[in-house]
Amino acid sequence: MVSLYINNTKVEVPEGSTILNAAQKAGYNIPTLCHLESQIPKGACRVCMVEVEGAKSLVASCAAPVAEGMKVITNSKTVREARKFVVELLISEHCGDCKTCDRNNDCELQALAYSLGIKDTRFEGECLESIIDDSTPALVRDSGKCIKCRRCVTVCNEIQSVGSLFAQGRGFDSTIGPAFEQNLAEVPCVQCGQCAAVCPVGAITEKDHIASVWEALDDPDKFVVVQTAPAIRAALGECFGYEPGTLVTGKMVTALRILGFDRIFDTNFTADLTIMEEGTELLLRLKKALVNKEKVALPQFTSCSPGWIKYAEYFYPDYLDNISTCKSPQQMFGSVAKTYYAEKIGRKPEDIVVVSVMPCTAKKFEAQRPEMNDSGVQDVDYVLTTRELGRMIQQAGIDFRELPDDKMDSPLGMSSGAADIFANTGGVMEAAVRTVYEIVTGKELPLEKLHIVPIMGLEGVKKASLKITGTKPEWGFLEGVELKVGVAHGLGNAKKIIEAMRAGEEFHFIEVMTCPGGCIGGGGQPRFTTDEVRKKRIEAIYAEDEGKQLRKSHDNPEIKQIYEEFLGEPLSHLSHKLLHTHYVSRMN
C-alpha cells in the first residue's frame, strides 16, 4: 500500500493506483472527459490536472501513479484556472449548439463548463468541420462535436475487439473514425452503441425514432403495440432521477398507456418463447451428435444479441452454423404480433405497428435486416432506446414518479422470471438450463433459488458444468453427461471464449451478450453505466425474477397457449418460418 495526501486528507491505496483513484477514495471528485474505469489511461483531455508538491507542472491525475508521501492538491486557483482554460479551448473548437443537441442536459462537456463557471467564449477561432455520418441504421456521428477524448476508440478496440474506430490524422485536422474517412456502414461496425454510451458529448448518438413513433401513435388507422425488453425496467427510472437498479415495471406500463400505445406487451414473453425454441434446438443438436453420430455444429451459441450476431458474421463466419437459428426475442415478438396476434384481433399485419423499447442500438439495425419480415411486412417497425422512451415520456409531460402501477396486456405480456434474467450476463444460459434440465429429467433444476452461481456476476468469461442424472427414458442418452456451458459478455470476451474453444476447450452451449454486463449495460441505456451501476441493475433483475411465481419459461401459461393455438410445438414448421432465421458471412 502507498499512503499519500489528497488535499491534506491521508489516504492509502494499492501500489500502481493513479492519483485519480486515490482522490476518489479520499472523497474528492476530479473531473475527466476521457477516462474510463478499468482501462489504461489515455490522458487525452487534460481536464483532470492536479497540483503535486515538487512537480514542475500540473499532472494529469488519471495517468499519474501515486508515490509514497505524495502531496496532491485537487482544487487550487492554479488547478481551477488550468481546467477552465482546457475546457475553454475544447469549447472553442466544438462545433455544436447545445440547445438543439441530442445530448442537451446529458452532456459531460456542458456540465463541466457550467461547474467551472465558464460564461463566455474567450477564444474565437476555427471550429471543427461537422461531417455527419448517418450511414447506419443505429448510429449517427458528428465530427464537429467530437472532442477527441478517445473513449469510443477504447471501447471499440479494447473492450469490444471490433476496431472500426481509431484516431485518424494529426493535430487540428485529426478525427476519430474508420479508416480513410469511410463511413460506419462500410466498415465492420456491429452497431452495439457502446461508443455512444461512453461519448461525453453529442458526437455519437443513436438514430432517433421518436418522431416516427409519434406519427404512428397519431395515425388513427394504425394499431400500435409496444414491447419492452427485460433490461428497460431496471434502468428507465434513471431518466427520472431514480437510483440505478430501481425497478419501475408498473410505472413504465402506465406511461406507455398514457403515451397512446394500443397494447402494452412484453419482450419477456418472447424471451420465454426463445427458451422453448432454443432449448429444444440444443437438445436436438445433442441428440444428433450423441445418438445419430451426425456431424453437427456444437457448441451452440445463443442468438439474442444482434451485435454479437453481426460480430460473428464479420469475424467468425466459420462459426455461423453454431449460432442458434432462433431469432432474438425482439424479432420473435414482431413476427408473432403481426401473425398470431393480428389474427386474434382481426387486423392485417400492415395495419399493425410494432414498436420496441430496447436497451440497445444494434436492435435498430436488427429490425431492418431484410430477412426480418416473416409476417409479410417488416416485423418490427421502430426501435426506441431506453433513453428515447425516457425522452418521449418527458415530451408528453408525464410526471413519471407519480404514476401508479399497471400490468402488461395479454396474450403477449405474461412472462416468467427466466425471461427477466435475459437482461444480464449469464441470464439466458440460466433460463435455458432451468427449462432444458426439466425437459430431460422431469425434475426442477436442483440449485438454490434456481441460480447457477458460477455464471452470475461481472467476470468477463464464466464457465459452469452440470451433471445430468435421472433422465427420462427418451433422454437416456444424456444420462451422466456433464453439460458444459460458457458465458461471455463484451465482444472482447466473446473472442476469448472462441479462441479457447479453438484451442480445444469443450463446451456444449455458450451465451454471448455484446455489451459488458449484458443488456442492462446496453448501448441504449441511460448514461453513465459504470460497473457499480451494472451491479445494481443486475440485482434488480434478479429480484424481479425471484419475486415471480413463475420462474421457468415452460411454465408460462401464455407460452403454452401460443403452442396450443398456433405454433404446435417447438421447432414446428410454423416455428421455423416465424421464429428462426439464418446468418450471412460479412467477411471481406
Binding site: 478496440n157 476496431g163 490524422g169 494529426r170 474508420p178 479508416a179 466498415v187
Partner: protein, 171 residues
C-alpha cells in the same frame, strides 16, 4: 467522375503498373521479416512505402490482416506521420524548401512556378507519374537559398525562370 476514371486509366497504363504486381509478392516477405517483433507496424509501413513508392490500399489491408490489427488503426498510423503517403508518387520527387531563408528569398515563387508548370499542387503527382511536388522545411543549405531538391540532387539559388531548364533533364 469521368475525369477521374480517365486519370486512373492513364495510371494503369503507366510504366510501373506491371512491376507493382510483382511488389505484392515481396510484401509478404517484408511482413515476415518484422511480424514477430513488437511495434512491427511502422517498420513494415516504411519498407512497404519504399517498395511501392507509396502505400496502396490493398497493401494496407494485407498488413492489417496479417498483423491482426484493425484497418482503422493502420490507417490512423499512416495518417499521423507525414512521411507516409497513400497517393502514388512520381518517378521524381521535387521538394521545395520553404524554410525561413528560402521563404524570404523567393521559395514561394519557385513553388508557384513549379506548380504552374507541372499543373499539380503540393502533395500531388503529375498524370504521367513523372513528378511529385512536396514542400520541405529547411534542407540546411540556407546560404544557397532558395533551394529545391529533385530526388537527392540539390539545386541552388533557383529562379522561377530556370524551372524549365532544371526539369528538362528529368523529362
Amino acid at each position: 467522375m469521368g475525369e477521374k476514371s480517365a486519370q486512373q486509366e492513364k495510371v494503369c497504363k503507366c510504366h510501373d503498373s506491371i512491376s507493382e504486381e510483382q511488389y505484392y509478392e515481396q510484401l509478404d516477405d517484408i511482413i515476415d521479416q518484422h511480424i514477430e517483433k513488437e511495434g512491427a507496424l511502422i517498420p513494415i509501413l516504411q519498407s512497404v512505402q519504399n517498395l511501392f513508392g507509396y502505400l496502396p490500399e490493398a497493401a494496407l489491408r494485407k498488413i492489417s490482416r496479417r498483423l491482426n490489427k484493425p484497418y482503422s488503426e493502420v490507417a490512423g498510423v499512416v495518417g499521423f506521420y507525414s512521411y507516409f503517403s497513400t497517393i502514388p508518387k512520381g518517378e521524381n520527387t521535387i521538394r521545395v524548401c520553404l524554410g525561413t531563408a528560402c521563404y524570404v528569398r523567393g521559395g514561394k515563387d519557385v513553388l508557384k512556378a513549379l506548380s504552374d508548370e507541372l499543373k499539380i499542387g503540393v502533395g500531388e503527382t503529375t498524370e504521367d507519374r513523372k513528378f511529385s511536388l512536396e514542400v520541405g522545411r529547411c534542407f540546411g543549405a540556407c546560404g544557397l537559398a532558395p533551394v529545391i531538391m529533385i530526388n537527392d540532387e540539390v539545386f541552388q539559388k533557383v529562379k522561377p525562370s530556370r524551372i524549365n531548364e532544371i526539369l528538362s533533364s528529368y523529362r
